[in-house]
Symmetry: C2
Subunit: 387 residues, 2 copies
């Protein structure tokens, strides 16, 4: 079969706030081939992703992404790799945004192929078995330590054995205030729970400020310390007791591998919707496994994005933990008609269903759709397609 059509949808909440919450909009991609339909989401400024799809040719190294995708064969996984390589070859100069856009399209291609072959993506990747993962509830710090504790308690009551707190006030005031949040979180989930802290690159290039939080992180038995900044190796050398985590900014396979080798992270966190798609995520997962580094998905949006991100490491028993988005905006909550629920042991698994196994809710797509039109030189290059 061949890729007959690709539709891109810009979805967003009625109001988008200037807060650290990436679930307020989405660039949803639909791929159709041979009567089958697949869906994927790119973690990407939606309008800029749309533009990369249909932007006019600039030169042989700067083609619109559509040129490498539409009409391409889609019969087995190697065809997906060929499309990705084609984008890299045809859109490598002057079109950085193509790395993000192709992530969503690549996932949709996998989903479509999986449905055509009646196989989950992880089996098409070569895994025999999908191992359950311990999901960690991924939430923002409260505004006060007390609020952070309440959130931790609520997550524990919802059945989570692991919680990650991130962003919010962390790193913006004093070492003492941060320590209070950390201990409040530990109080809330209890001594047995896994606790992770995500600094959201708040310390920029200030290794000292990032390091000043280490004693409290160690005392509260924090499982990992995520994205204090970009200079991982420097801090890694100072923190044998608290492993570093990072990687959500990787937008190709090379960058993920480099964070493992040069950044010395203990946990590599990859978003399939950002890194170029499921194949790149899979490559990094295999590499991490070989190097003794735990692979973890990065997912802060929908259940569909969660399933896409689980595929690449479903079959790796060693990488046994998974980010679980707990507070996404309604758009992301309503985007699928089914969910990946916690099992009786509090674990989650990649669905054993064709493709991602997630069903897109077309009513939600219609509800959050933003009508968009791009005209260049008198021609309409993009207009929102019908759902």
């Amino acid at each position: 079969m061949k890729i007959e059509s690709v539709d891109l949808f810009y979805l967003r909440m009625p109001e988008v706030l200037d807060i650290g919450d990436g679930s307020q909009d989405s660039l949803l991609c639909r791929v159709s081939a041979g009567g089958y339909v697949g869906w994927g989401e790119a973690v990407c400024s939606p309008l800029v992703g749309l533009s990369a799809w249909i932007t006019p040719l600039s030169h042989s190294g700067c083609h619109p992404v559509i040129d490498s995708v539409l009409g391409a064969p889609l019969n087995d996984p190697s065809d997906i790799a060929k499309v990705y390589q084609s984008v890299r070859k045809n859109s490598f100069y002057g079109l950085l945004q193509s790395d993000l856009l192709i992530s969503g399209i690549e996932i949709a291609m996998w989903d479509c192929l999986g449905r055509a072959k009646s196989e989950p993506i992880w089996r098409l990747l070569g895994y025999q078995k999908s191992y359950p993962k311990l999901p960690y509830a991924s939430v923002l710090f409260g505004d006060t330590a007390q609020e952070t504790k309440q959130k931790a308690l609520a997550m524990k009551q919802a059945g989570f054995k692991a919680v990650k707190f991130g962003w919010g006030p962390f790193g913006t005031t004093t070492v003492k205030a941060d320590a209070e949040h950390i201990f409040a979180a530990r109080d809330g989930i209890g001594d047995d729970g896994y606790l992770m802290i995500d600094a959201g690159t708040v310390f920029k290039e200030d290794v000292e400020a990032a390091a000043a939080r280490l004693p409290a992180l160690h005392e509260a038995n924090v499982y990992w310390y995520e994205e204090p900044f970009d200079g991982y190796a420097q801090l890694s050398a100072r923190t044998p007791k608290v492993a570093l985590a990072g990687g959500e900014g990787a937008h190709n396979a090379y960058q993920g591998k480099q964070l493992i080798d040069d950044g010395k992270v203990g946990f590599i966190q990859i978003d399939a919707g950002y890194v170029g798609g499921i194949s790149n995520a899979y490559q990094i997962a295999q590499y991490a496994n070989k190097k003794g580094v735990k692979y973890v998905n990065h997912t802060f949006t929908s259940q569909s994005a969660l399933s896409s991100s689980l595929q690449s490491f479903a079959g790796l028993a060693e990488s046994d933990i998974s980010e679980y988005p707990m507070e996404p905006k309604l758009l992301c909550q309503e985007l699928t008609t089914n969910r990946i629920e916690l099992d009786k042991n509090g674990m989650i698994s990649a669905p054993d269903k064709p493709g991602t196994g997630m069903d897109i809710n077309l009513d939600a797509v219609k509800k959050y759709l933003v009508q968009t039109q791009i005209q260049v030189g008198g021609k309409t290059l993009y207009t929102t397609p019908s759902v």
Copy 2:
């Protein structure tokens, strides 16, 4: 003074061909502050750059670039650095294209500031003197070895002592055919001329194929071998006699420094319109100088882009060679009313005039302007401004 307005213009040739020629379109940026006007060009798919300027907010890490630029103070070079840092902080996730767009805007800010202070940019950067550079004519290989020789002869007759041939058929057929082109080029410019070869990453990850060209490159006394692929260090180890060159794909200062340290290039080639602007180019130039690596501009488009790229290393006597675009399309030829000409010794210099010292030809801007409109959710976010 403050940045009162920024206008972005999409310019292109009436026909854009699927060839390796980046001078067929341009994203031209105009910055106005305190009654002064500056211009810069981003090396960037123009529509996607425009979109990054006005794309709606996605979250606190994904602001449109306009949010970090409009209304910002512009009184001295530190203000330009602040705007750049602000873009990195506000648009770091989901908006990769912002690295390219800000390159053009940053150059326009420097140009505007230079005109306001009646100083060339290189003097604002701290250089006391602008050293002449040996310009190399940058051209594409001919379709045949004979045509390549004719081109080399023509460049010699135009007063050039250095010529770089790139792209075209190189690397696409046989080692023998490539050798014929190399020797034809050497024949044409004579034994004294500098000859450089640009493989345009044609070998992708094939180190053997790239290495198979080394004997001819060495025999023809080629000054550098540019961008055979991305695995520089591997090839560097095998080619002590032919230095490697690369860097035009660097879109931030870190990447340029990394190519020097890890890629072991002998020449680092930076495009101010791609790397984030003149300040990043300057940082890399200083770093290269300290490490004994020659800094070279990458410029394949207009005379305005050439001046922008010369500023960052104008004051470095050791970095004494400069790319000179010889075959740009009419759009780039007509974009300025003045040019950087070869002096009686066949050398060029960064102009000793305010800003870039180049005057934009508004008639050419009108002639090549592409009317563009972007509408999202019923609002017009971008429409081509008046010239």
